[in-house]
């Protein structure tokens, strides 16, 4: 009986070790990663199925605001060109809207602020697990895209940012369902003030039904494309390209 117990016990320990090294080995296999990744498409379709296209993420009240909204990722883009924009309040900054549009635009911060403003108090959920509640003021992305006039072939909206990680700029992308969602805004203000640099000044994306890394900061250019394959390294975002984060970040 004891030998049986020992046998089963060592079997258990052996299985544990095998599981660990086996999982690491599986994780290095591109085929296996592909199998796991296919569940991401399933997750996106399932979430889109149970969620109305225009369903709004919860909006909170002033009393729910996080006392301190931590900044994450880049808190000061390193390029001299960007830093030269700061002293006069981004008066020389322009948002470029181009790609598959009828009328490419170049918009100043004043022009964006003159457009209809949406204010929303929402919960920001980081992929790491923390959450912070902030108040955002901005122009609905749909209005900007409509004034540029999307071409029929446009499928995704890419946000090019001013911050670099090594050789690569930060960027993100969303599809047209999220791009035209009422709460998807290009925010120029936060908590009743103009956006500060750690939180993405002069302009950042809010795409409230997805995780924090989709909310690109320091947006310089909005580009409409028909495919993400040709954009940087092809997976639709800086973290997607560099560490294989999921492109759809609804969970």
């Amino acid at each position: 009986m004891i030998s049986r117990r020992r046998f089963i016990g060592s079997l258990g320990i052996g299985a544990g070790g095998l599981l660990l090294s086996g999982c690491d080995r599986l994780n290095r296999s591109e085929t296996f990663r592909g199998v796991l990744r296919s569940s991401e498409g399933l997750t996106m379709r399932a979430q889109r199925l149970i969620m109305d296209r225009n369903a709004l993420a919860r909006e909170f009240s002033e009393s729910d605001l996080s006392p301190v909204f931590r900044s994450n990722g880049t808190s000061m883009p390193g390029s001299p060109a960007f830093q030269a924009l700061i002293p006069n309040g981004f008066a020389d900054w322009r948002l470029v809207v181009d790609g598959l549009v009828q009328r490419p635009l170049s918009l100043s911060l004043a022009q964006l602020r003159a457009m209809p403003t949406r204010t929303q108090i929402t919960r920001h959920d980081c992929v790491e697990g923390w959450s912070a509640i902030g108040k955002w003021h901005g122009v609905p992305l749909g209005l900007v895209l409509d004034s540029a006039g999307l071409r029929d072939r446009a499928r995704y909206i890419v946000f090019h940012c001013a911050d670099y990680f090594g050789d690569f700029p930060y960027y993100e992308s969303i599809d047209l369902i999220d791009a035209f969602h009422p709460q998807t805004i290009l925010a120029w203000g936060m908590n009743n003030r103009l956006l500060d640099v750690p939180h993405g000044a002069p302009l950042r994306l809010r795409v409230e039904r997805q995780l924090g890394y989709k909310h690109a900061k320091y947006v310089m250019r909005v580009e409409a494309v028909d495919s993400l394959a040709g954009v940087y390294r092809g997976k639709g975002g800086f973290w997607e390209d560099s560490t294989d984060y999921a492109w759809y970040a609804g969970i």
Binding site: L20, D24, S39, I50, A57, G129, Y245, A246
Partner: protein, 291 residues
């Protein structure tokens, strides 16, 4: 088919089963066995990839929001020389296991859970999430399927639901004493789950696992948009994350006790019964022979 039904009307097979050499009888039906082994794998992967995700932000909060500047009720952290767990302000030194530990190559790492507890074994949030969110589908779809099959084939009614007399405090206390003294049922009684087994299995199947799935979904901003009652139910996303972690800890405790019990009750017979379904009835004590 059912052993417990046979016990009500002792027949020749029943008498044969009481012979000291013990008889092989069917104990676990095929759906139970399949679900058990699928879950044995899935739950381990969920726990270990979950700890990888936890390592990305090893702090837990109550309420809707919670980040570095907010008050955490649980923190796994480190000083330059020690690892610690802080629960409700009480700091426990966990150097070597949690917060600060040594990896396979002897390198000191200051991170919450050690390499041997996470999938993958090195820090990789993208991979941990990919494993967790893929296998979550198997857990979340397998559970209601198992409920449906077990309701239909009588597993719930016959094996899991406690009888009224079993729920009396006296009976439960007797069973606690039996467990504490490692007295395991013999003969026909070994075929039925005792009350502590029934309660713990039912708690895992009908409370802990579904709540794990639900609190997991509550961490999704998209699911919260589609089903806003979910964050309300758990008191906000960060509360849901805390409850998710507590339930995962309870699941780990359940697995630990379950494995210890399997080993103590006779691992060969128990494991065989969960693989082939066949269980050898442990012989009655000698003085009860021939009754």
């Amino acid at each position: 088919m059912s052993a417990s039904k046979a016990a009500e009307v002792p027949g020749p097979r029943e008498l044969e089963a009481r012979r000291p050499d013990g008889k092989l009888v069917l104990r676990h039906r095929l759906p139970t066995r399949i679900w058990h082994w699928v879950n044995a794998l899935v739950v381990f992967i969920m726990l270990m990839s979950g700890l990888m995700i936890f390592n990305a932000h090893p702090r837990l909060y109550w309420g809707s929001y919670g980040a570095n500047y907010d008050k955490a009720w649980l923190v796994v952290g480190s000083t330059p020389s020690r690892g610690f767990v802080e629960v409700a302000g009480l700091r426990l030194d966990t150097t070597g296991v949690l917060g600060r530990w040594t990896d396979r190559r002897g390198v000191v790492v200051r991170r919450a859970f050690p390499y041997w507890a996470t999938i993958p074994s090195s820090y990789n949030l993208a991979a941990g999430r990919r494993w967790h969110l893929a296998f979550a589908w198997l857990l979340a779809l397998g559970l209601p399927l198992f409920w449906a099959v077990s309701l239909l084939n009588g597993h719930v009614r016959r094996d899991l639901a406690p009888r009224r007399d079993e729920l009396s405090p006296g009976h439960i206390w007797e069973d606690i004493k039996d467990h504490a003294q490692l007295r395991f049922p013999k003969g026909e009684a070994a075929l039925r789950y005792n009350i502590l087994q029934k309660l713990s299995y039912a708690a895992i199947v009908f409370v802990v696992l579904p709540l794990l799935v639900m609190t997991g979904l509550t961490m999704s901003p998209a699911v919260d948009t589609a089903l806003p009652w979910l964050p309300d139910l758990f008191g906000g996303r960060q509360s849901a994350r805390s409850i998710h972690f507590i339930l995962a800890a309870l699941t780990s405790l359940f697995i630990l006790v379950h494995l210890v019990m399997v080993v103590l009750a006779g691992p060969f017979n128990e494991v065989r019964s969960m693989i082939t379904g066949r269980f050898r009835i442990p012989p009655e004590p000698a003085e009860e022979e021939g009754q």
